[in-house]
């Protein structure tokens, strides 16, 4: 594990101790305990609610089976144990976004325990323990009336999000730097998206991260005073907030001060964490078992069925791709960044594109076009099958590289049939030796200076001549053949 040292000198060096609490909305169609749609942003405010998620008296919650299975899937992907018995509890507190006055959550018998996530940070392998993965329900959302918060006389409550399945993933305090915390979150997000349980959107809050941060002098085994940092809605914010908080805590201790166990919010505009005193009030949740929900006994059979349905996970897949297709570790990691990318890559290779060519195009032109058009390859006009056709035309010599590049850009945006376009527009590569020799001779005759430069040892002069030939051949000449013909004729 990489350790971050901060402080004034060797004697006063501190180490950071960080654990993350990640909340992930599950990709179910309906809510956790009622049948309202989980797509809560599609409805007008409070237009996506029923008596259960509005917290009306006398209603009965019923568990969403797929939410339970997704939580087990996540727990298994993180190598957690799944206890034979689990139950829900009520976490009691008052806040207007929580209409029942309690959140249905899990307290002492969560759905899973004791897992871990492995990752690489600053080129070192690291492992962070997972304390637990449990299931609960999301709250509603608050809007504050008026332009200036301090002058607002009322707050507005939208309960569309109330009751959406929310999974909480609690890590052990195993992270020792902001770099490690960010990398853990990057890998966890990738994993959740790979197994299809979360959409990974930190900005919109379908994935949220809080950090427990403390510092202690090296060699000290007791933990320092823990501060909970909230309001970080990007990887960058997580990194900056933790770095800030470590430095703040060290500064307080170095000045002889004492740290307060408190909740602090990251304020992007001030680039600082700020104490949230209101959140300190009454952390007395009086958990007790939820009487309206019978417990769960997730039998071995169910757990093993879910385990058998797990896809190949990102780290394993990257390692296999590197081995199977002779890719560098870096390229394999890039190509497996998302499950969709990795699937596309393997489909290209299965369709007969060479491993190297598929990798280069996917990481190069395709990635650039995806960025430019905000459309992934799968959703683009060309699609994976179209790209495979195009790259096979390139590899069998029907078209040359520049033509493939141009066609790809066009197909990506507008779609179409690569083979048909090549025929219709006569884009086929000119590999006819006799025809190209005529053009090469013309170009040599018209560019005496460049020829003399090349013969005089200026290698780059050849590039100018190649360019002239390509131009005369309408961009379709086979580059390697042009090159060798030019060398041949110039040395004759």
């Amino acid at each position: 594990m990489t350790t971050q040292t901060v402080g004034l000198g060797v004697d006063s060096a501190y180490e950071a101790v960080i654990g993350l609490e990640v909340h992930a909305q599950l990709l179910t169609r309906s809510k956790m305990f009622c049948s309202c749609s989980a797509a809560y942003t599609n409805a007008p405010a409070n237009g996506n609610c029923c008596p259960v998620c509005l917290g009306m008296p006398g209603v009965l919650p019923v568990m969403n089976r797929q939410a339970v299975e997704m939580t087990v899937r996540t727990a298994l992907a993180l190598d957690c144990e799944i206890p034979a018995f689990t139950k829900f509890d009520r976490k009691n507190y008052f806040y207007p976004d929580l209409p029942k006055g309690y959140q249905i959550s899990q307290y002492d018998l969560p759905m899973s325990l004791r897992g871990h996530l492995d990752f690489t940070v600053n080129e070192e392998r690291a492992r962070c323990g997972i304390t637990r993965v449990h299931l609960e329900e999301d709250t509603g959302t608050m809007h504050h009336a008026g332009d200036v918060l301090q002058e607002a006389t009322s707050s507005l409550v939208d309960l569309n999000r109330s009751g959406v399945p929310l999974m909480e993933i609690v890590s052990e305090p195993d992270l020792r730097s902001a770099d490690a915390a960010r990398e853990y979150l990057v890998r966890l997000r990738q994993l959740l998206m790979y197994i299809g349980v979360n959409d990974g959107n930190l900005e919109q809050g379908s994935l949220r991260c809080d950090a427990n941060v403390s510092v202690r002098k090296f060699g000290v085994s007791e933990l320092g005073t823990k501060v909970e940092v909230k309001n970080m809605n990007s990887f960058r914010a997580v990194h900056r907030a933790i770095d800030f908080e470590i430095a703040r805590q060290v500064a307080v201790l170095e000045q002889g001060g004492a740290l307060l166990q408190e909740t602090r919010g990251w304020v992007e505009t001030r680039a600082a964490t700020v104490s949230q005193r209101s959140k300190e009030m009454a952390h007395d949740y009086r958990y007790f078992p939820e009487p309206d929900l019978p417990p769960l006994q997730l039998g071995r059979e169910l757990v093993e069925r879910i385990r058998s349905e797990l896809p190949e996970l990102p780290e394993a897949r990257a390692a296999r791709l590197a081995e199977q297709y002779g890719l560098s570790t870096y390229d394999a990691a890039l190509l497996t960044a998302s499950r969709e990318d990795a699937d596309a890559y393997e489909e290209l290779v299965d369709a007969g594109v060479s491993a190297k060519v598929a990798a280069n195009w996917q990481m190069g032109d395709v990635a650039a076009l995806a960025n430019q058009h905000h459309r992934s390859l799968v959703d683009s006009g060309v699609g994976v099958v179209g790209l495979a056709t195009l790259l096979r035309l390139l590899e069998d010599g029907t078209i040359n590289g520049p033509t493939a590049k141009e066609l790809l850009a066009e197909l990506y945006e507008h779609g179409g049939d690569a083979a048909l376009l090549v025929r219709e527009r006569g884009l086929g590569q000119v590999s006819d030796r006799a025809a190209l020799t005529v053009i090469v001779d013309e170009v040599i005759a018209a560019n005496a200076q460049a020829c003399e430069d090349f013969r005089g040892g200026k290698a780059q002069a050849l590039g100018r001549l190649v360019g002239q030939v390509m131009k005369a051949a309408g961009g379709r000449a086979e580059p390697a053949l042009v090159n060798s013909l030019l060398r041949e004729r110039l040395s004759a």
């Binding site: 309906s30 405010a45 237009g47 797929q66 301090q150």
Partner: protein
């Protein structure tokens, strides 16, 4: 053990009940009686009985993930003490 005045004040705060001194005293005495009554349970021998929070003998009661229509916005808001027509309206909450 009787409840201390601080216990009573803490429970009242958690329940968001604004109690006068006189009420805290009176309700404290009543809570003591209730707790004393319930404490009879402590005399039962439960050493052979597994802990449970449920007596219905039900497990794994769940439904498939099928969405169903919700109430309309108007229906959802109809019993609210205050709304702006779209949202529930509550006193200003400042973090």
């Amino acid at each position: 053990m009787p409840l201390s005045p601080d216990d009573v004040a803490h429970v009242a705060m958690l329940a968001r009940l604004g109690l006068s001194e006189e009420e805290r005293h009176r309700i404290g005495l009543q809570l003591d009686v209730i707790l004393e009554h319930i404490s009879a349970l402590e005399r039962a021998d439960i050493s052979d009985i597994p802990e449970t929070a449920q007596v219905g003998n039900l497990v794994n009661v769940w439904r498939d993930d099928e969405p169903a229509p919700s109430l309309s916005q108007q229906e959802a808001l109809v019993n609210a003490p205050d709304t702006d027509g779209e949202y529930f309206k509550v006193g200003a909450i400042q973090e």
